[in-house]
């Protein structure tokens, strides 16, 4: 099957990839661009392990063809923070034990990031509803919810200081 060249903006960098029209974005990210933070958990868009941010929306990257992402701004877990400056959510997930095996974590944090962008003052109910597209088998969500609420609190305080 013929391939076409696509250009994506991934984590602030413009990158090119060769993709068949049927190729899923998650496969191009993981296998060509070596972005292995987003994971594959189901390939039917139920689990959310492959969640990335496309042009300011949470998207399950097993649900889009790579060619559909032509020219789009994509943010993955790798783009949220770095070892020298973690994102508040990354810190809070650790602090509140919001992860165990780590497989759902990149998608979960990427989703939580978008949720807090859209709603900086979430209630527990908002968080539980907002991350319900991302499954976790280890934590029972209780500490994930705690971590997201704590991150929201810290981000708010940061804004007040600024």
């Amino acid at each position: 099957m013929s391939k076409q060249t696509i250009t994506l903006n991934v984590n602030g960098k413009s990158v090119a990839a060769e993709a068949e029209s049927r190729e899923l974005l998650i496969h191009v990210l993981r296998e060509q661009l070596e972005i292995t933070g987003p994971h594959i958990g189901c390939e039917t868009s139920h689990c959310g392990a492959c969640t990335v941010d496309i042009d300011g929306m949470s998207v399950k990257s097993c649900t889009v063809f790579a060619v559909q992402a032509q020219g789009k701004e994509i943010t993955t877990i790798e783009g949220l923070g770095n070892p020298d400056k973690l994102h508040v959510l990354q810190e809070k997930f650790r602090e509140h034990h919001g992860l165990q095996c780590g497989y759902c974590t990149p998608g979960m944090i990427t989703r939580a990031h978008r949720l807090l962008e859209e709603n900086p003052n979430p209630t527990e109910e908002d968080v539980r509803f907002g991350i319900a597209g991302n499954l976790c088998r280890c934590t029972g969500y209780q500490n994930i919810v705690k971590a997201v609420l704590a991150a929201a609190e810290e981000l708010k305080q940061g804004e007040n200081v600024a």
Binding site: G41, C42, I77, E78, F93, R94, L99, G102, T139, Q142
Partner: protein
């Protein structure tokens, strides 16, 4: 002296040892997307494997035509059983003493069974080629109901062993029968069932489900023909066992095989066994000379890798009229699917189902389990439990409730009346176990008080009255559970997997500057071993947990171990860690005595140093000792500071817990809502309370899933009805309640640090608590027992059958 006392406390805190809610060292890489799971492994020239699978549950394979697939550009090989047969790899041994087809050899026995293995340049081409393989099937009658397996018109499934009257676990009475396993005193128990004043009887079905970790199973095999070395990365909960099996099957010498478990995205028992995909990736790499990756998709995971449970448990429980239990009888029909691929220690074909007397002092008991072949996927793994203890706990906790109904007695009171008392430990159970320690009454009373049990019962009674008066359409259920686990297999004399004794191991190296590396025979799948094992060691050797690296999962470097499942890491490898630490300390004591110029007996251990008795100002810290061990010639002492321990536990450990679930149920829709869940766990000495609590939250959510909807269901033709996450229930954050956790602490008397293990307790105890809540809600309307999963439809149906819809 207060300054000294303070500094001891400070030094102790600095170690971050036992009892500390230390933050996890694993989290840095996981939160930054830098975990390294099997599908992240990418090697030069790597090919992808994909399976042609059977769409039939039972059929003869008349022919397989791979020619069209081979013509597709990018396809490198298509393997069938005929290709594997010369290598004697078309079948493989299972962990349960049976054998399993790697690729269909003449027939298929379950939907989703592996028929051919396509190897191609990328996963898309492999998937295309799968569609081009033509398999000609002749359909055969299908057996899905284990109770019909021995009827005269039942199809014979396993033609390969149809004439064998002896299996791995004794006599077989029918070609579809695998084994009968009996424990306890049948005659005495059956006599009690005839004579006892009260006998309650129930058929309790624990349905088929699946561990379904977020990461599916997979492997990458790389045969280096130049050096004759095979490297196999994969989702292995027991990498050393995989190495030994791979060596025995392939004929490659064991030192030339390196098995690596990288980060594992959850296991829950799904990743204990050996799957055809692992074998095929190895063979494909040997055949092609380049690395081959195989990673299953979710549908393959749910329909072909190991299921859990599927036990039909017929029970009788006898008691006096005032509720003293006299005896327990159980006959279980175990649906094992097409091959007996249970992950149990060799001598236990039904795992530890004989822990089914639970937390109770039951003087006489009998258990029989019949294993049966059906046209379903093989498995029978311990889904977050220790070898069928979940089935056992569910059985006894339902039977107690059924007995309470028969006696017209409060179920909490009935439990308390029959608990094994504190002073009875170590307790010898009627079915052969020696419970190490427990204090059930204390835990139970704490739980009842915490939820205001009396208040809840009063509220429930009022609600029943209101319901009957037409004032509400809601009912309330109180789900009680007191479970006793049995975890930490060994001992070696009782427990082995494929002949390998179930010990575990730890090897420690102290570096000259006083930091350390410890390697273990276990492998974390999210349990946080790199965090907690360092804590055990920190307390033992006085080096901060932050300065101890824990490594697992690489068989070229880690000492031999039996892996992580059945909550055995803390009871067995945790003990090995403590024992290896004590060897380090013993040598350190000799070095310290030499440096301090006193006799060994004149110094004593204090947190992180040896101190001269009566002269607290004279001491040597572990760091000083470590340095000295490398840079000084010490008479009679070898240089360096290292130790290894292979630990064979004297007994298993018996964690326990008291769980109470309060559920509100809408009678007209069948929708249930967990109002409160209180979970008290006693796992002996607590290593990291934060991680314990996290494990409890996660295990309870798995229990919620199983009890309330999660099921691997088949139709009458053997079609899997629950092959995707649309049909297979995994609770989201929206459906999952908050849990209230609590604890008591009864150390294990035989474990070096008194720890018992906790990871699986919430699954074991959670399922009966949720299920009992549903059952309890309808007790006032005449319900004795209804089977799981309690999804909305089934709960509605229960209400409807009881005439509650008017």
């Amino acid at each position: 002296m207060s300054a000294t006392a303070e500094s001891v406390q400070d030094r102790k805190a600095a170690l971050k040892g036992l009892g500390t809610s230390r933050k996890r060292v694993e989290d840095a890489r996981f939160t930054q997307g830098k975990g390294n799971y099997v599908d992240d492994i990418k090697l030069p020239g790597m090919l992808f494997g994909d399976f042609v699978r059977s769409q039939h549950a039972h059929a003869r394979v008349k022919s397989i035509d791979t020619s069209k697939a081979m013509e597709l550009p990018g396809v490198v090989a298509v393997l069938t059983a005929a290709d594997l047969e010369p290598l004697n790899l078309h079948w493989m041994p299972t962990l349960a003493g049976d054998k399993q087809m790697v690729l269909a050899d003449g027939k298929v026995l379950f939907q989703g069974q592996e028929v051919a293995f396509v190897v191609a340049e990328d996963r898309y081409i492999a998937a295309d080629a799968v569609d081009l393989v033509k398999v000609d099937y002749e359909e055969l009658p299908v057996l899905v109901d284990p109770f019909k397996a021995e009827l005269s018109d039942a199809p014979i499934l396993r033609e390969d062993i149809k004439d064998e009257t002896e299996g791995a676990h004794g006599a077989r009475r029918h070609p579809n029968h695998i084994f009968t396993w009996e424990q306890g005193d049948q005659a005495a128990t059956e006599a009690i069932m005839k004579e006892a004043p009260v006998v309650a009887e129930e058929m309790v079905y624990y349905h088929r489900t699946h561990p379904c970790p977020m990461e599916t199973c997979g492997s990458v095999a790389s045969m280096d023909k130049v050096n004759g070395k095979l490297t196999l990365w994969g989702t292995f909960q027991a990498p050393h066992v995989v190495r030994t099996v791979a060596s025995l099957l392939s004929g490659i010498a064991e030192h030339n095989i390196r098995v690596v478990s990288p980060d594992i995205g959850g296991g829950f028992g799904n990743k204990v066994g050996v799957y055809p995909g692992y074998v095929c990736s190895i063979v494909a790499s040997i055949v092609t000379g380049v690395p081959v990756k195989w990673v299953e998709d979710r549908m393959e995971n749910l329909s072909a890798t190991a299921f859990a449970r599927d036990y039909h448990m017929n029970g009788k429980i006898a008691a006096t009229e005032d509720g003293k239990i006299l005896g327990l009888w159980c006959h279980t029909t175990a649906d094992h699917g097409a091959f007996d691929a249970c992950a149990d220690p060799t001598k236990y074909p039904a795992g530890f189902m004989n822990i089914c007397t639970g937390s109770y002092d039951i003087p006489t008991a009998y258990l029989a389990v019949d294993g049966i072949y059906t046209n379903k996927a093989p498995g029978g793994v311990a889904y977050r439990c220790s070898f069928r203890v979940t089935e056992a706990a569910y059985f006894i906790e339902r039977m107690i409730e059924v007995l309470a109904i028969k006696l017209n007695m409060d179920a909490a009171e009935l439990r308390a009346k029959n608990f094994i008392r504190k002073e009875q430990f170590p307790y010898q159970s009627a079915l052969g176990w020696e419970y190490d320690s427990g204090d059930y009454h204390t835990a139970w009373n704490k739980a009842l008080e915490a939820v205001d049990y009396k208040g809840l019962r009063a509220e429930q009674a009022q609600q029943v009255n209101d319901f009957k008066a037409g004032k509400t359409r809601k009912l309330m259920g109180i789900g009680l559970c007191h479970f006793t686990e049995i975890v930490g297999a060994g001992p070696v004399k009782n427990c082995d997997i494929l002949g390998m004794g179930m010990f575990d191991s730890c090897e420690i190296r102290i570096h000259p500057t006083g930091s350390a590396l410890a390697r273990l025979g276990t492998i974390s799948q999210g349990q946080g071993h790199a965090t907690t094992f360092a804590q055990i060691l920190a307390t033992e050797i006085g080096i901060s947990a932050d300065e101890i690296t824990i490594e697992e999962g690489d068989t070229d470097t880690a000492p031999y171990g039996l892996g992580t499942y059945g909550s055995r890491s803390t009871p067995v490898a945790g003990a090995a860690t403590a024992m290896a630490g004590r060897k380090i300390r013993a040598k350190a004591q000799m070095i310290a005595a030499y440096l301090l110029e006193v006799h060994d007996n004149d110094i004593e251990w204090e947190v992180d140093r040896f101190v001269v008795k009566g002269a607290p100002e004279r001491f040597k810290t572990m760091k000083e000792i470590a340095f000295a061990s490398y840079n000084q010639a010490i008479p009679g002492v070898e240089p360096g500071l290292e130790a290894v321990s292979y630990y064979d536990p004297p007994n298993m450990t018996y964690p326990f817990g008291a769980y109470i679930c309060v559920m509100d149920i809408d009678v007209d829709t069948g929708v249930s809502d967990v109002r409160k869940f209180y979970a008290l766990d006693d796992c002996g000495t607590r290593i990291n309370p934060m991680i314990i609590e996290g494990q409890v939250h996660g295990g309870l959510t798995e229990a919620l899933a199983i009890a309330m909807g999660q099921e691997i269901a088949y139709d009458e033709l053997g079609n899997v009805k629950t092959g995707t996450l649309m049909d297979f229930f995994i609770p989201t954050s929206w459906e999952t309640p908050n849990y209230q956790t609590d604890f008591t602490e009864t150390p294990s008397p035989h474990h070096p640090i008194g720890a018992k293990g906790v990871g699986e307790s919430p699954n074991v105890g959670g399922v009966p608590a949720f299920s009992n809540a549903i059952n309890d809600a309808f007790r006032a309307f005449g319900l004795t027992h209804t089977n799981m999963p309690h999804d909305h439809w089934r709960v509605w149906k229960t209400a409807n059958d009881l005439g509650l819809h008017g």
